[in-house]
């Protein structure tokens, strides 16, 4: 008798008649083939964007930040907006791999690899903005606490901006370790079935000589669990600390205690949207519809509607507190957000983040792939506007009316932003070509409980009466 049983209420996580070998074929197969035309077009386009980004950044570094549209009133413009936006996107991967591992959510196995990769690439993109925002980027290493000849003069450990340096670099390192330790067994799979010499050598190095010994697997599981336990508070801390960059200041619109949970919810919101954007395309092109099922997309859409609603409540709470506090500066800041010269950004944010995700309450729409794809982009547009609203529309009208200003970006700023898209997608295209984008070993682990064909095999058990089932289990245990 089969001992593994999962309720029929749960959708299968792997569709079709899959064996362990078929799983390997389906996921590793595309790595061994030449990529299709779409891949080359996409990759070329990404590299072109990246080159334009490098040109824009070089321009800004060479001529100075005067080439950007930021001014003395609005010192943070598109750069910091984009930084927060990318960091936010980078929250989904570790949330899926860590928090959902602790919650024992089986569906994470289909999407965690790609989501973690996305996290790492997004954090790489995010990191560029504060670095080049420094202006004299060649002095960037001053943020590191190292014994220097200036005293030694140390960075200010009480500053949220320095906390951010530690938070982002720790987050990047830990996400990378988590991702790579999961990849090692899958690289071993590619290595062992490799036909070409070079692939054997390259994946042999990449797999660290992994053989799948039982003791190694035992430690692997322990490592994954503890890294998940460490990453869970880490994920929450990173965007909390990003929000401290704003919340610890005394600028109306920034100086609020709601920021940490509101930022974290927003980060998960945009991160899941980006995962959906990437996976809807990847599953189609790499023919992984059986592993990244509509059920997976629906689960992520559910997270999107939840976090979107949290963000909506946070927006309304901000408005209420601004009114209720009786603080004149605060009230004006929020009035101008809604009705000032930047009204369009506020309403774009409200529409994209609060109103449109509510459509996901309808099950038909949650399971509709084109709609999911469009919504995933709408959500990320909305989340970009959220950061723009928080940053620019808090700064542009400060305490002295004489210094009020307006801000719009110049081409090097826009080019910088486009360049990070180039970086992100260049990395993602390389990842999709050379790495297994679904965790092969983890899919095999859930296959017998959640695979479609194995679940169908449970129908006999399902038809049994409870007494018969219990009797059978008891005799089975007596024999074993």
């Amino acid at each position: 008798m089969h001992i593994k049983y999962e309720s029929f209420v749960r959708e299968p996580l792997v569709n079709g008649d899959k064996t362990y070998h078929q799983v390997t074929e389906d996921i590793i197969g595309p790595i061994e083939k030449k990529p299709g035309r779409m891949w080359y077009i996409g990759f070329f386009f990404s590299v072109a964007l990246l080159c334009f980004g490098i040109f824009s950044v070089t321009w800004a570094v060479y001529w100075g930040l005067g080439t950007w549209g930021v001014n003395r009133t609005i010192g943070w413009g598109w750069d910091i907006t984009n930084f927060v936006w990318w960091v936010g996107i980078g929250h989904a991967g570790t949330l899926i791999s860590a928090i959902l591992l602790l919650f024992r959510q089986g569906w994470r196995t289909g999407v965690n690899r790609a989501a973690e990769a996305m996290t790492i690439f997004a954090v790489m993109c995010a990191g560029q903005f504060p670095i080049f925002h420094m202006g004299r980027v060649w002095d960037g290493f001053f943020v590191l606490p190292y014994p220097n000849t200036r005293g030694p003069l140390w960075p200010n450990f009480n500053s949220p901006l320095l906390w951010d340096v530690f938070a982002i670099s720790t987050y990047f390192t830990v996400s990378l370790l988590f991702w790579y330790s999961g990849l090692i067994p899958d690289f071993a799979t590619i290595r062992d079935r490799a036909k070409t010499k070079f692939r054997k050598l390259a994946y042999g190095v990449a797999s660290f000589g992994w053989t799948g010994s039982v003791k190694n697997w035992q430690r692997h599981e322990a490592l994954a669990l503890v890294l998940a336990g460490l990453s869970t508070p880490l994920v929450l801390s990173v965007h909390t600390i990003v929000s401290f960059d704003f919340a610890t200041s005394v600028i109306p619109g920034w100086h609020t205690t709601i920021f940490p949970p509101y930022f974290v919810a927003g980060a998960i919101f945009s991160g899941f949207a980006m995962v959906n954007t990437l996976l809807v395309i990847s599953r189609k092109i790499l023919h992984l519809e059986d592993y990244i099922t509509i059920g997976h997309l629906e689960a992520m859409n559910k997270v999107i509607v939840l976090t979107g609603s949290i963000v909506g409540v946070a927006y309304l709470t901000e408005l209420f507190i601004a009114w209720y506090s009786g603080a004149y500066g605060e009230q004006q800041a929020f009035k101008w957000r809604i009705m000032g010269p930047y009204w369009w950004s506020y309403w774009a944010m409200m529409t994209c983040n609060v109103v449109s995700p509510q459509l996901f309450w309808v099950k038909k729409l949650r399971r509709n792939i084109p709609f999911t794809f469009i919504m995933s982009i709408v959500v990320n547009i909305g989340m970009w506007f959220e950061r723009f609203v928080i940053i620019v529309t808090s700064l542009y009208r400060d305490w002295i009316p004489g210094s009020w200003a307006y801000y719009s970006p110049t081409w090097p700023e826009v080019g910088f932003y486009l360049g990070t898209f180039g970086l992100f997608f260049t990395c993602y295209f390389l990842f999709a070509k050379y790495f297994p984008i679904v965790a092969v070993a983890e899919i095999k682990f859930v296959l017998k409980t959640s695979g479609d064909n194995y679940k169908r095999g449970m129908e006999t058990i399902e038809a049994q009466s409870e007494e018969d089932f219990i009797h059978e289990v008891e005799t089975h245990h007596a024999h074993a």
Binding site: V174, R191, G204
Partner: protein, 190 residues
């Protein structure tokens, strides 16, 4: 760290593997290791392996991170170069918590992964013998060590009765060495 002779049995289902493992352990032959394509729960206990203490390493590394951060920041801001931030106390612990937390996580994660690599003996450039190329695909591969007292044929026949799909006898290094996976070692052809 020695070249040995192994009888190798490949199973294609973990539900066959478990009873087979039980039989092999009862038989008294020396079980070398089992290689599986994914983490099979309960196999470590069935083999009689103890649990891992890796998380203790993680805890100790974490403590190192905490003390490094607190020690370093408090030394800098109270004795090496005290700065006056708006009259606030030099020893301002709450403001140090974020960095302390981040360094705790960083030390713990990095330390634990390095410990993991050390214990598992995995590293770029490290090579180990792969008994069957499908052990990372869909085979569960059991290697039994042979010596002067065991008859090769007897062990292979015995393994066949446990439900093995494929059996073989291989000469291999039982541990790791520096090597490349695109080159085969000479002794394997002995």
């Amino acid at each position: 760290m020695a070249i040995k002779k192994f009888a190798v049995a490949c199973y294609d289902d973990e539900e066959v593997l478990f009873p087979a493992l039980k039989t092999v352990r009862h038989s008294g032959y020396k079980l070398h290791d089992i290689y599986t394509p994914f983490a099979v729960h309960g196999l470590d206990e069935a083999m009689g392996l103890k649990g891992t203490d890796l998380h203790i390493a993680g805890f100790i590394f974490g403590l190192c991170g905490t003390s490094t951060a607190l020690g370093f920041i408090s030394w800098i801001l109270t004795s090496d170069w005290p700065l006056n931030f708006g009259g606030k106390p030099h020893f301002s612990l709450p403001a140090w918590i974020p960095i302390t937390f981040e360094l705790t996580v960083l030390f713990s994660a990095v330390g634990m992964v390095l410990t993991w690599c050390y214990l598992n003996q995995v590293m770029p450039g490290v090579k180990k013998h792969v008994f069957h190329p499908r052990q990372s695909d869909d085979y569960f591969v059991m290697a039994v060590e042979l010596n002067d007292q065991t008859s090769e044929q007897e062990v292979v026949d015995f393994l066949k009765t446990t439900g093995a799909k494929e059996t073989s006898v291989q000469i291999a290094e039982d541990s790791w060495w520096y090597g490349r996976f695109d080159k085969e070692e000479a002794y394997q052809k002995l």
